[in-house]
């Protein structure tokens, strides 16, 4: 019953989306507004239809309707209700339906905001969004339907993958999805500008705003994913250059490049073609990422997981690629640059370097991620590139980017003199050099660490100096520090939001350099009562206990006490969780976390026969909390930059903004 109803709902949604595309195109060509409005209503109507399909599958999950294959694959009777609901994105078919839902929500939002201002673009926005929706509805309705029935109805389901039963895992995938799906909207507006020939300022503003929103979610998804890996996977790290991680990093990088270079287009009317290309690249990387994550084409060694969706995704990517290129070529005249770079020491040149570095990083990540396929194609042997190779190749590029992050905001449009730049960087350079000397005296002797810390603190000092300059300028008008600082933010959210984001990245970079170069790892077997000394800490092993947890969980938990300088700090309880029905264990670390370092311990082995001995792996992760703290600053910055403008800002009447440089 639910299965049939669900399938029919998706077919109806497919038909409605198809109608919207045809009606919008026809209406736009004929100049007939009634067709366009009808198309708009149709594309909005896809949203409740897809929501209904989702509601149906959630009902089946919650009530345990195991006649549906998807339900028996990802849920079980014993699972708590909230996990049954989140099982919507716990498997392939459900997650694709969830994609559909988010796309239809974003589409409805795009239709309902600023329709009137974007009237010429909207029919084509409907066409492009409709095409993407149509493709995903086709996948969800026919190729990978969540409404397929089981031939024999099992008494209970497999249950959700234990790795997904973590609070972080409940929010991390939807955030990434929101980021992924959200990138479709700026792409649709960009394509609509090309198709309609309305290449004015309108589309670029809308595209930038939507990109920022999607980028916010994508950033959140990436940060949460790292945190989840650190908390749950128990390997002491947060990022492993895994193909799936890279699949979400690559569109993020392309989006980042666009968010920077779009400013040159707005200020200088340059790089128009390049920006179009970046919007297209971001979107295509999103679709490619959505596919790669599911297919296992890269990570699996055998072709054991050949998915039915593969050829369709490749076909769709190829189609959208050609579609975009055709329109970009067609409008190449209006994408001509209106200005020339006149100096390599200018704001626009700095953005150019920024784009070069980000795209270089993207290209390297792309090459390494797809190296197994590329090498097989050219040499017949499947090669693989591990994390150390990524780090060796990318470290200099990231270092250059960090430097640019600090220096670029000091440059002026058109050109900047080297003396001016020299004066501006003098004191931050002195301050960061002093810091590095202090670090050296304190025992930091690795040259990559010293260089890394110098670059990061230099750029951080420059960024803080920008805040200080702006605040001081306002204080000169009689405002107190706090008012000056907050008004500065409020008056120029895009600029200062950007600096907050830079600060967030720099704080993270500090943590990444420290943890990357100074993480230590020890493995030790202890019998009850024994202790181990690690980096100034003493860990005493007391006991191991075993007890049942929620659902079918069996928990083996070690009890250890942590001391420093003879003083008791706290008890730690690393554990091994064992899901009995599925036979899958998980190692859950336990950590004492401070701003300077994490003492992170994993229970790696415990044999019940020798009950009083256990093997532990201990990681000392210096400054790892800086990564999460930087992440929070980063997100705050993005919120500041993305916060919607008031339509008519009354503040403008009072005083012109008094910010320093030529932004």
């Amino acid at each position: 019953m639910i299965a049939d109803f669900g399938r029919i709902t998706l077919y109806v949604a497919f038909t409605v989306a198809l109608y919207a595309i045809v009606a919008a195109y026809y209406g736009a060509r004929r100049g007939d507004d009634r067709w366009v409005r009808s198309a708009r209503n149709a594309i909005i109507a896809v949203c409740p239809l897809v929501a209904l399909a989702c509601a149906l599958i959630i009902t089946a999950l919650v009530t345990g309707d195991f006649s549906i294959a998807y339900v028996s694959q990802v849920s079980s009777l014993g699972m708590p209700t909230y996990l049954k609901v989140t099982a919507l994105w716990g498997g392939q078919a459900g997650s694709l339906l969830f994609w559909n839902l988010l796309l239809s929500l974003f589409t409805a939002a795009a239709m309902l905001t600023k329709w009137r201002q974007q009237k010429e673009l909207m029919p084509y926005v409907i066409v492009v969004l409709g095409m993407v929706q149509l493709f995903f509805l086709f996948i969800s309705g026919i190729v990978e339907s969540p409404f397929v029935r089981n031939l024999t109805i099992p008494a209970d389901g497999n249950g959700l993958n234990p790795l997904l039963r973590h609070p972080g895992m409940i929010i991390h995938p939807p955030m990434l999805y929101l980021g992924f799906v959200g990138m479709t909207i700026p792409y649709a507006f960009a394509m609509a500008a090309l198709m309609s020939g309305q290449m004015g300022d309108n589309w670029i503003k809308t595209t930038r705003r939507w990109t920022l929103v999607a980028w916010l979610f994508l950033s959140l998804g990436l940060i949460l994913g790292g945190r989840w890996a650190y908390d749950v996977l128990g390997w002491g790290g947060y990022w492993g250059w895994d193909p799936v991680e890279n699949a979400s990093l690559m569109p993020w990088l392309a989006g980042t490049a666009f968010l920077h270079s779009v400013m040159i287009q707005e200020k200088m009317r340059m790089f128009k073609m390049w920006n179009m290309f970046l919007v297209m690249l971001t979107f295509l990387l999103v679709i490619l990422g959505t596919f790669v994550v599911r297919s296992g084409v890269i990570s699996s060694v055998h072709a054991f997981a050949q998915s039915a969706i593969g050829p369709f995704f490749f076909g769709f990517i190829a189609f959208m690629f050609i579609f975009s290129l055709v329109w970009i070529t067609k409008r190449r005249e209006s994408l001509r640059t209106e200005n020339q770079l006149v100096s390599y020491l200018s704001r626009e040149a700095a953005f150019l370097y920024n784009n070069f570095l980000i795209i270089a990083i993207l290209a390297v990540v792309f090459l390494f991620t797809y190296y197994p396929l590329i090498s097989e194609l050219f040499t017949g042997e499947k090669g693989f590139v591990g994390p150390p190779v990524y780090e060796r190749a990318l470290a200099p590029l990231f270092a250059a980017l960090v430097l640019l992050m600090g220096v670029a905001p000091l440059t002026m449009w058109y050109r900047t003199s080297i003396q001016r730049l020299g004066r501006a960087v003098l004191w931050p350079a002195v301050a960061s050099t002093v810091l590095v000397v202090v670090l050296f005296i304190l025992g930091v002797h690795l040259w990559p660490a010293l260089l890394g810390f110098w670059l990061v603190s230099f750029s951080a000092a420059l960024t803080l100096w920008e805040f200080a300059k702006g605040t001081r300028a306002r204080m000169g008008k009689g405002e107190n520090v706090w008012t000056a600082f907050t008004t500065l933010m409020a008056r120029n959210r895009r600029r200062y939001g950007g600096y907050w984001i830079h600060m967030g990245v720099l704080i993270m970079a500090f943590g990444i350099v420290a943890d990357g170069l100074y993480q230590s790892e020890t493995q030790i077997r202890l019998t009850a009562g024994e202790s181990v000394q690690v980096g100034g800490f003493e860990m005493v092993f007391n006991s191991v206990s075993r007890f049942p947890g929620a659902d079918d969980l069996l928990i083996t938990q070690a009890d250890v006490d942590l001391y420093k300088n003879g003083e008791f700090l706290r008890k730690l309880t690393p554990e091994i969780e064992f899901y009995q029905r599925s036979g899958q264990p998980m190692t859950i670390p336990s950590a004492r976390s401070t701003i300077t370092e994490d003492f992170y311990v994993i229970l790696v082995n415990w044999e019940p026969t020798t009950a009083d001995a256990a093997t532990f792996r201990i990681f000392l992760n210096p400054l790892i909390n800086w990564i999460w703290a930087g992440g929070i600053v980063f997100i705050i910055g993005t919120l500041i930059a993305a916060w919607p403008d008031r339509e008519k800002a009354p503040a403008r009447a009072r005083k012109p903004a008094v910010v320093a440089a030529g932004d």
Partner: protein, 170 residues
């Protein structure tokens, strides 16, 4: 843009004809691309691994001995032995095969000081990074054991969940 500087006193800011200007950017761009290519080649040289199945390994054993490999296979549960040598040292051994129903060619894997991964069970899919020695024993690199659990869950995990299983288990 009120305080844009136009002073051209510094030679770096003096720029003349657009054509020369353009040439400079092209030359600079090519140099930068060359630098990136150098970084990539330098990082990759001698550091890439080859993916092989157990059968493929034996087919070219002499060539592949001593080379950095990623060998994939299925774990034979009975072969798993974990020995605690002393407080700091342990030894983990197991065999992998290409086809569990026809386990003729088995590769013996040895991992020193590696904990026994959660997912190391009979019929698990193992991916081992390491090098084979002259005796045909495959010595895993530190952190070089990766396992996928016997597929009781959907083969293709969704967004963000495919990777944990392929990440090195400590």
């Amino acid at each position: 843009m009120a305080d844009v500087t136009w002073q051209n006193t510094d030679e770096s800011a003096v720029l003349v004809k657009p054509r020369r200007n353009r040439l400079m950017f092209i030359v600079g761009g090519v140099a930068l691309i060359a630098a990136v290519v150098y970084l990539v080649v330098n990082a990759m040289s001698g550091s890439t691994q080859l993916y092989k199945t157990v059968g493929e390994f034996y087919a070219e054993q002499s060539r592949l001995t001593g080379r950095d490999l990623r060998v994939a296979g299925w774990v034979i549960g009975d072969s798993i032995v974990y020995t605690q040598i002393d407080a700091h040292n342990s030894r983990l051994e197991f065999d992998i095969v290409d086809d569990l129903s026809n386990p003729t060619q088995t590769l013996h894997v040895v991992a020193l000081n590696e904990p026994k991964p959660d997912l190391l069970q009979n019929q698990a899919q193992a991916l081992v990074e390491g090098r084979a020695d002259a005796n045909g024993v495959f010595n895993a690199n530190p952190g070089g054991l990766m396992l996928k659990c016997p597929t009781r869950y959907e083969e293709m995990a969704p967004e963000g969940t495919g990777h944990p299983e392929s990440i090195a288990v400590p």
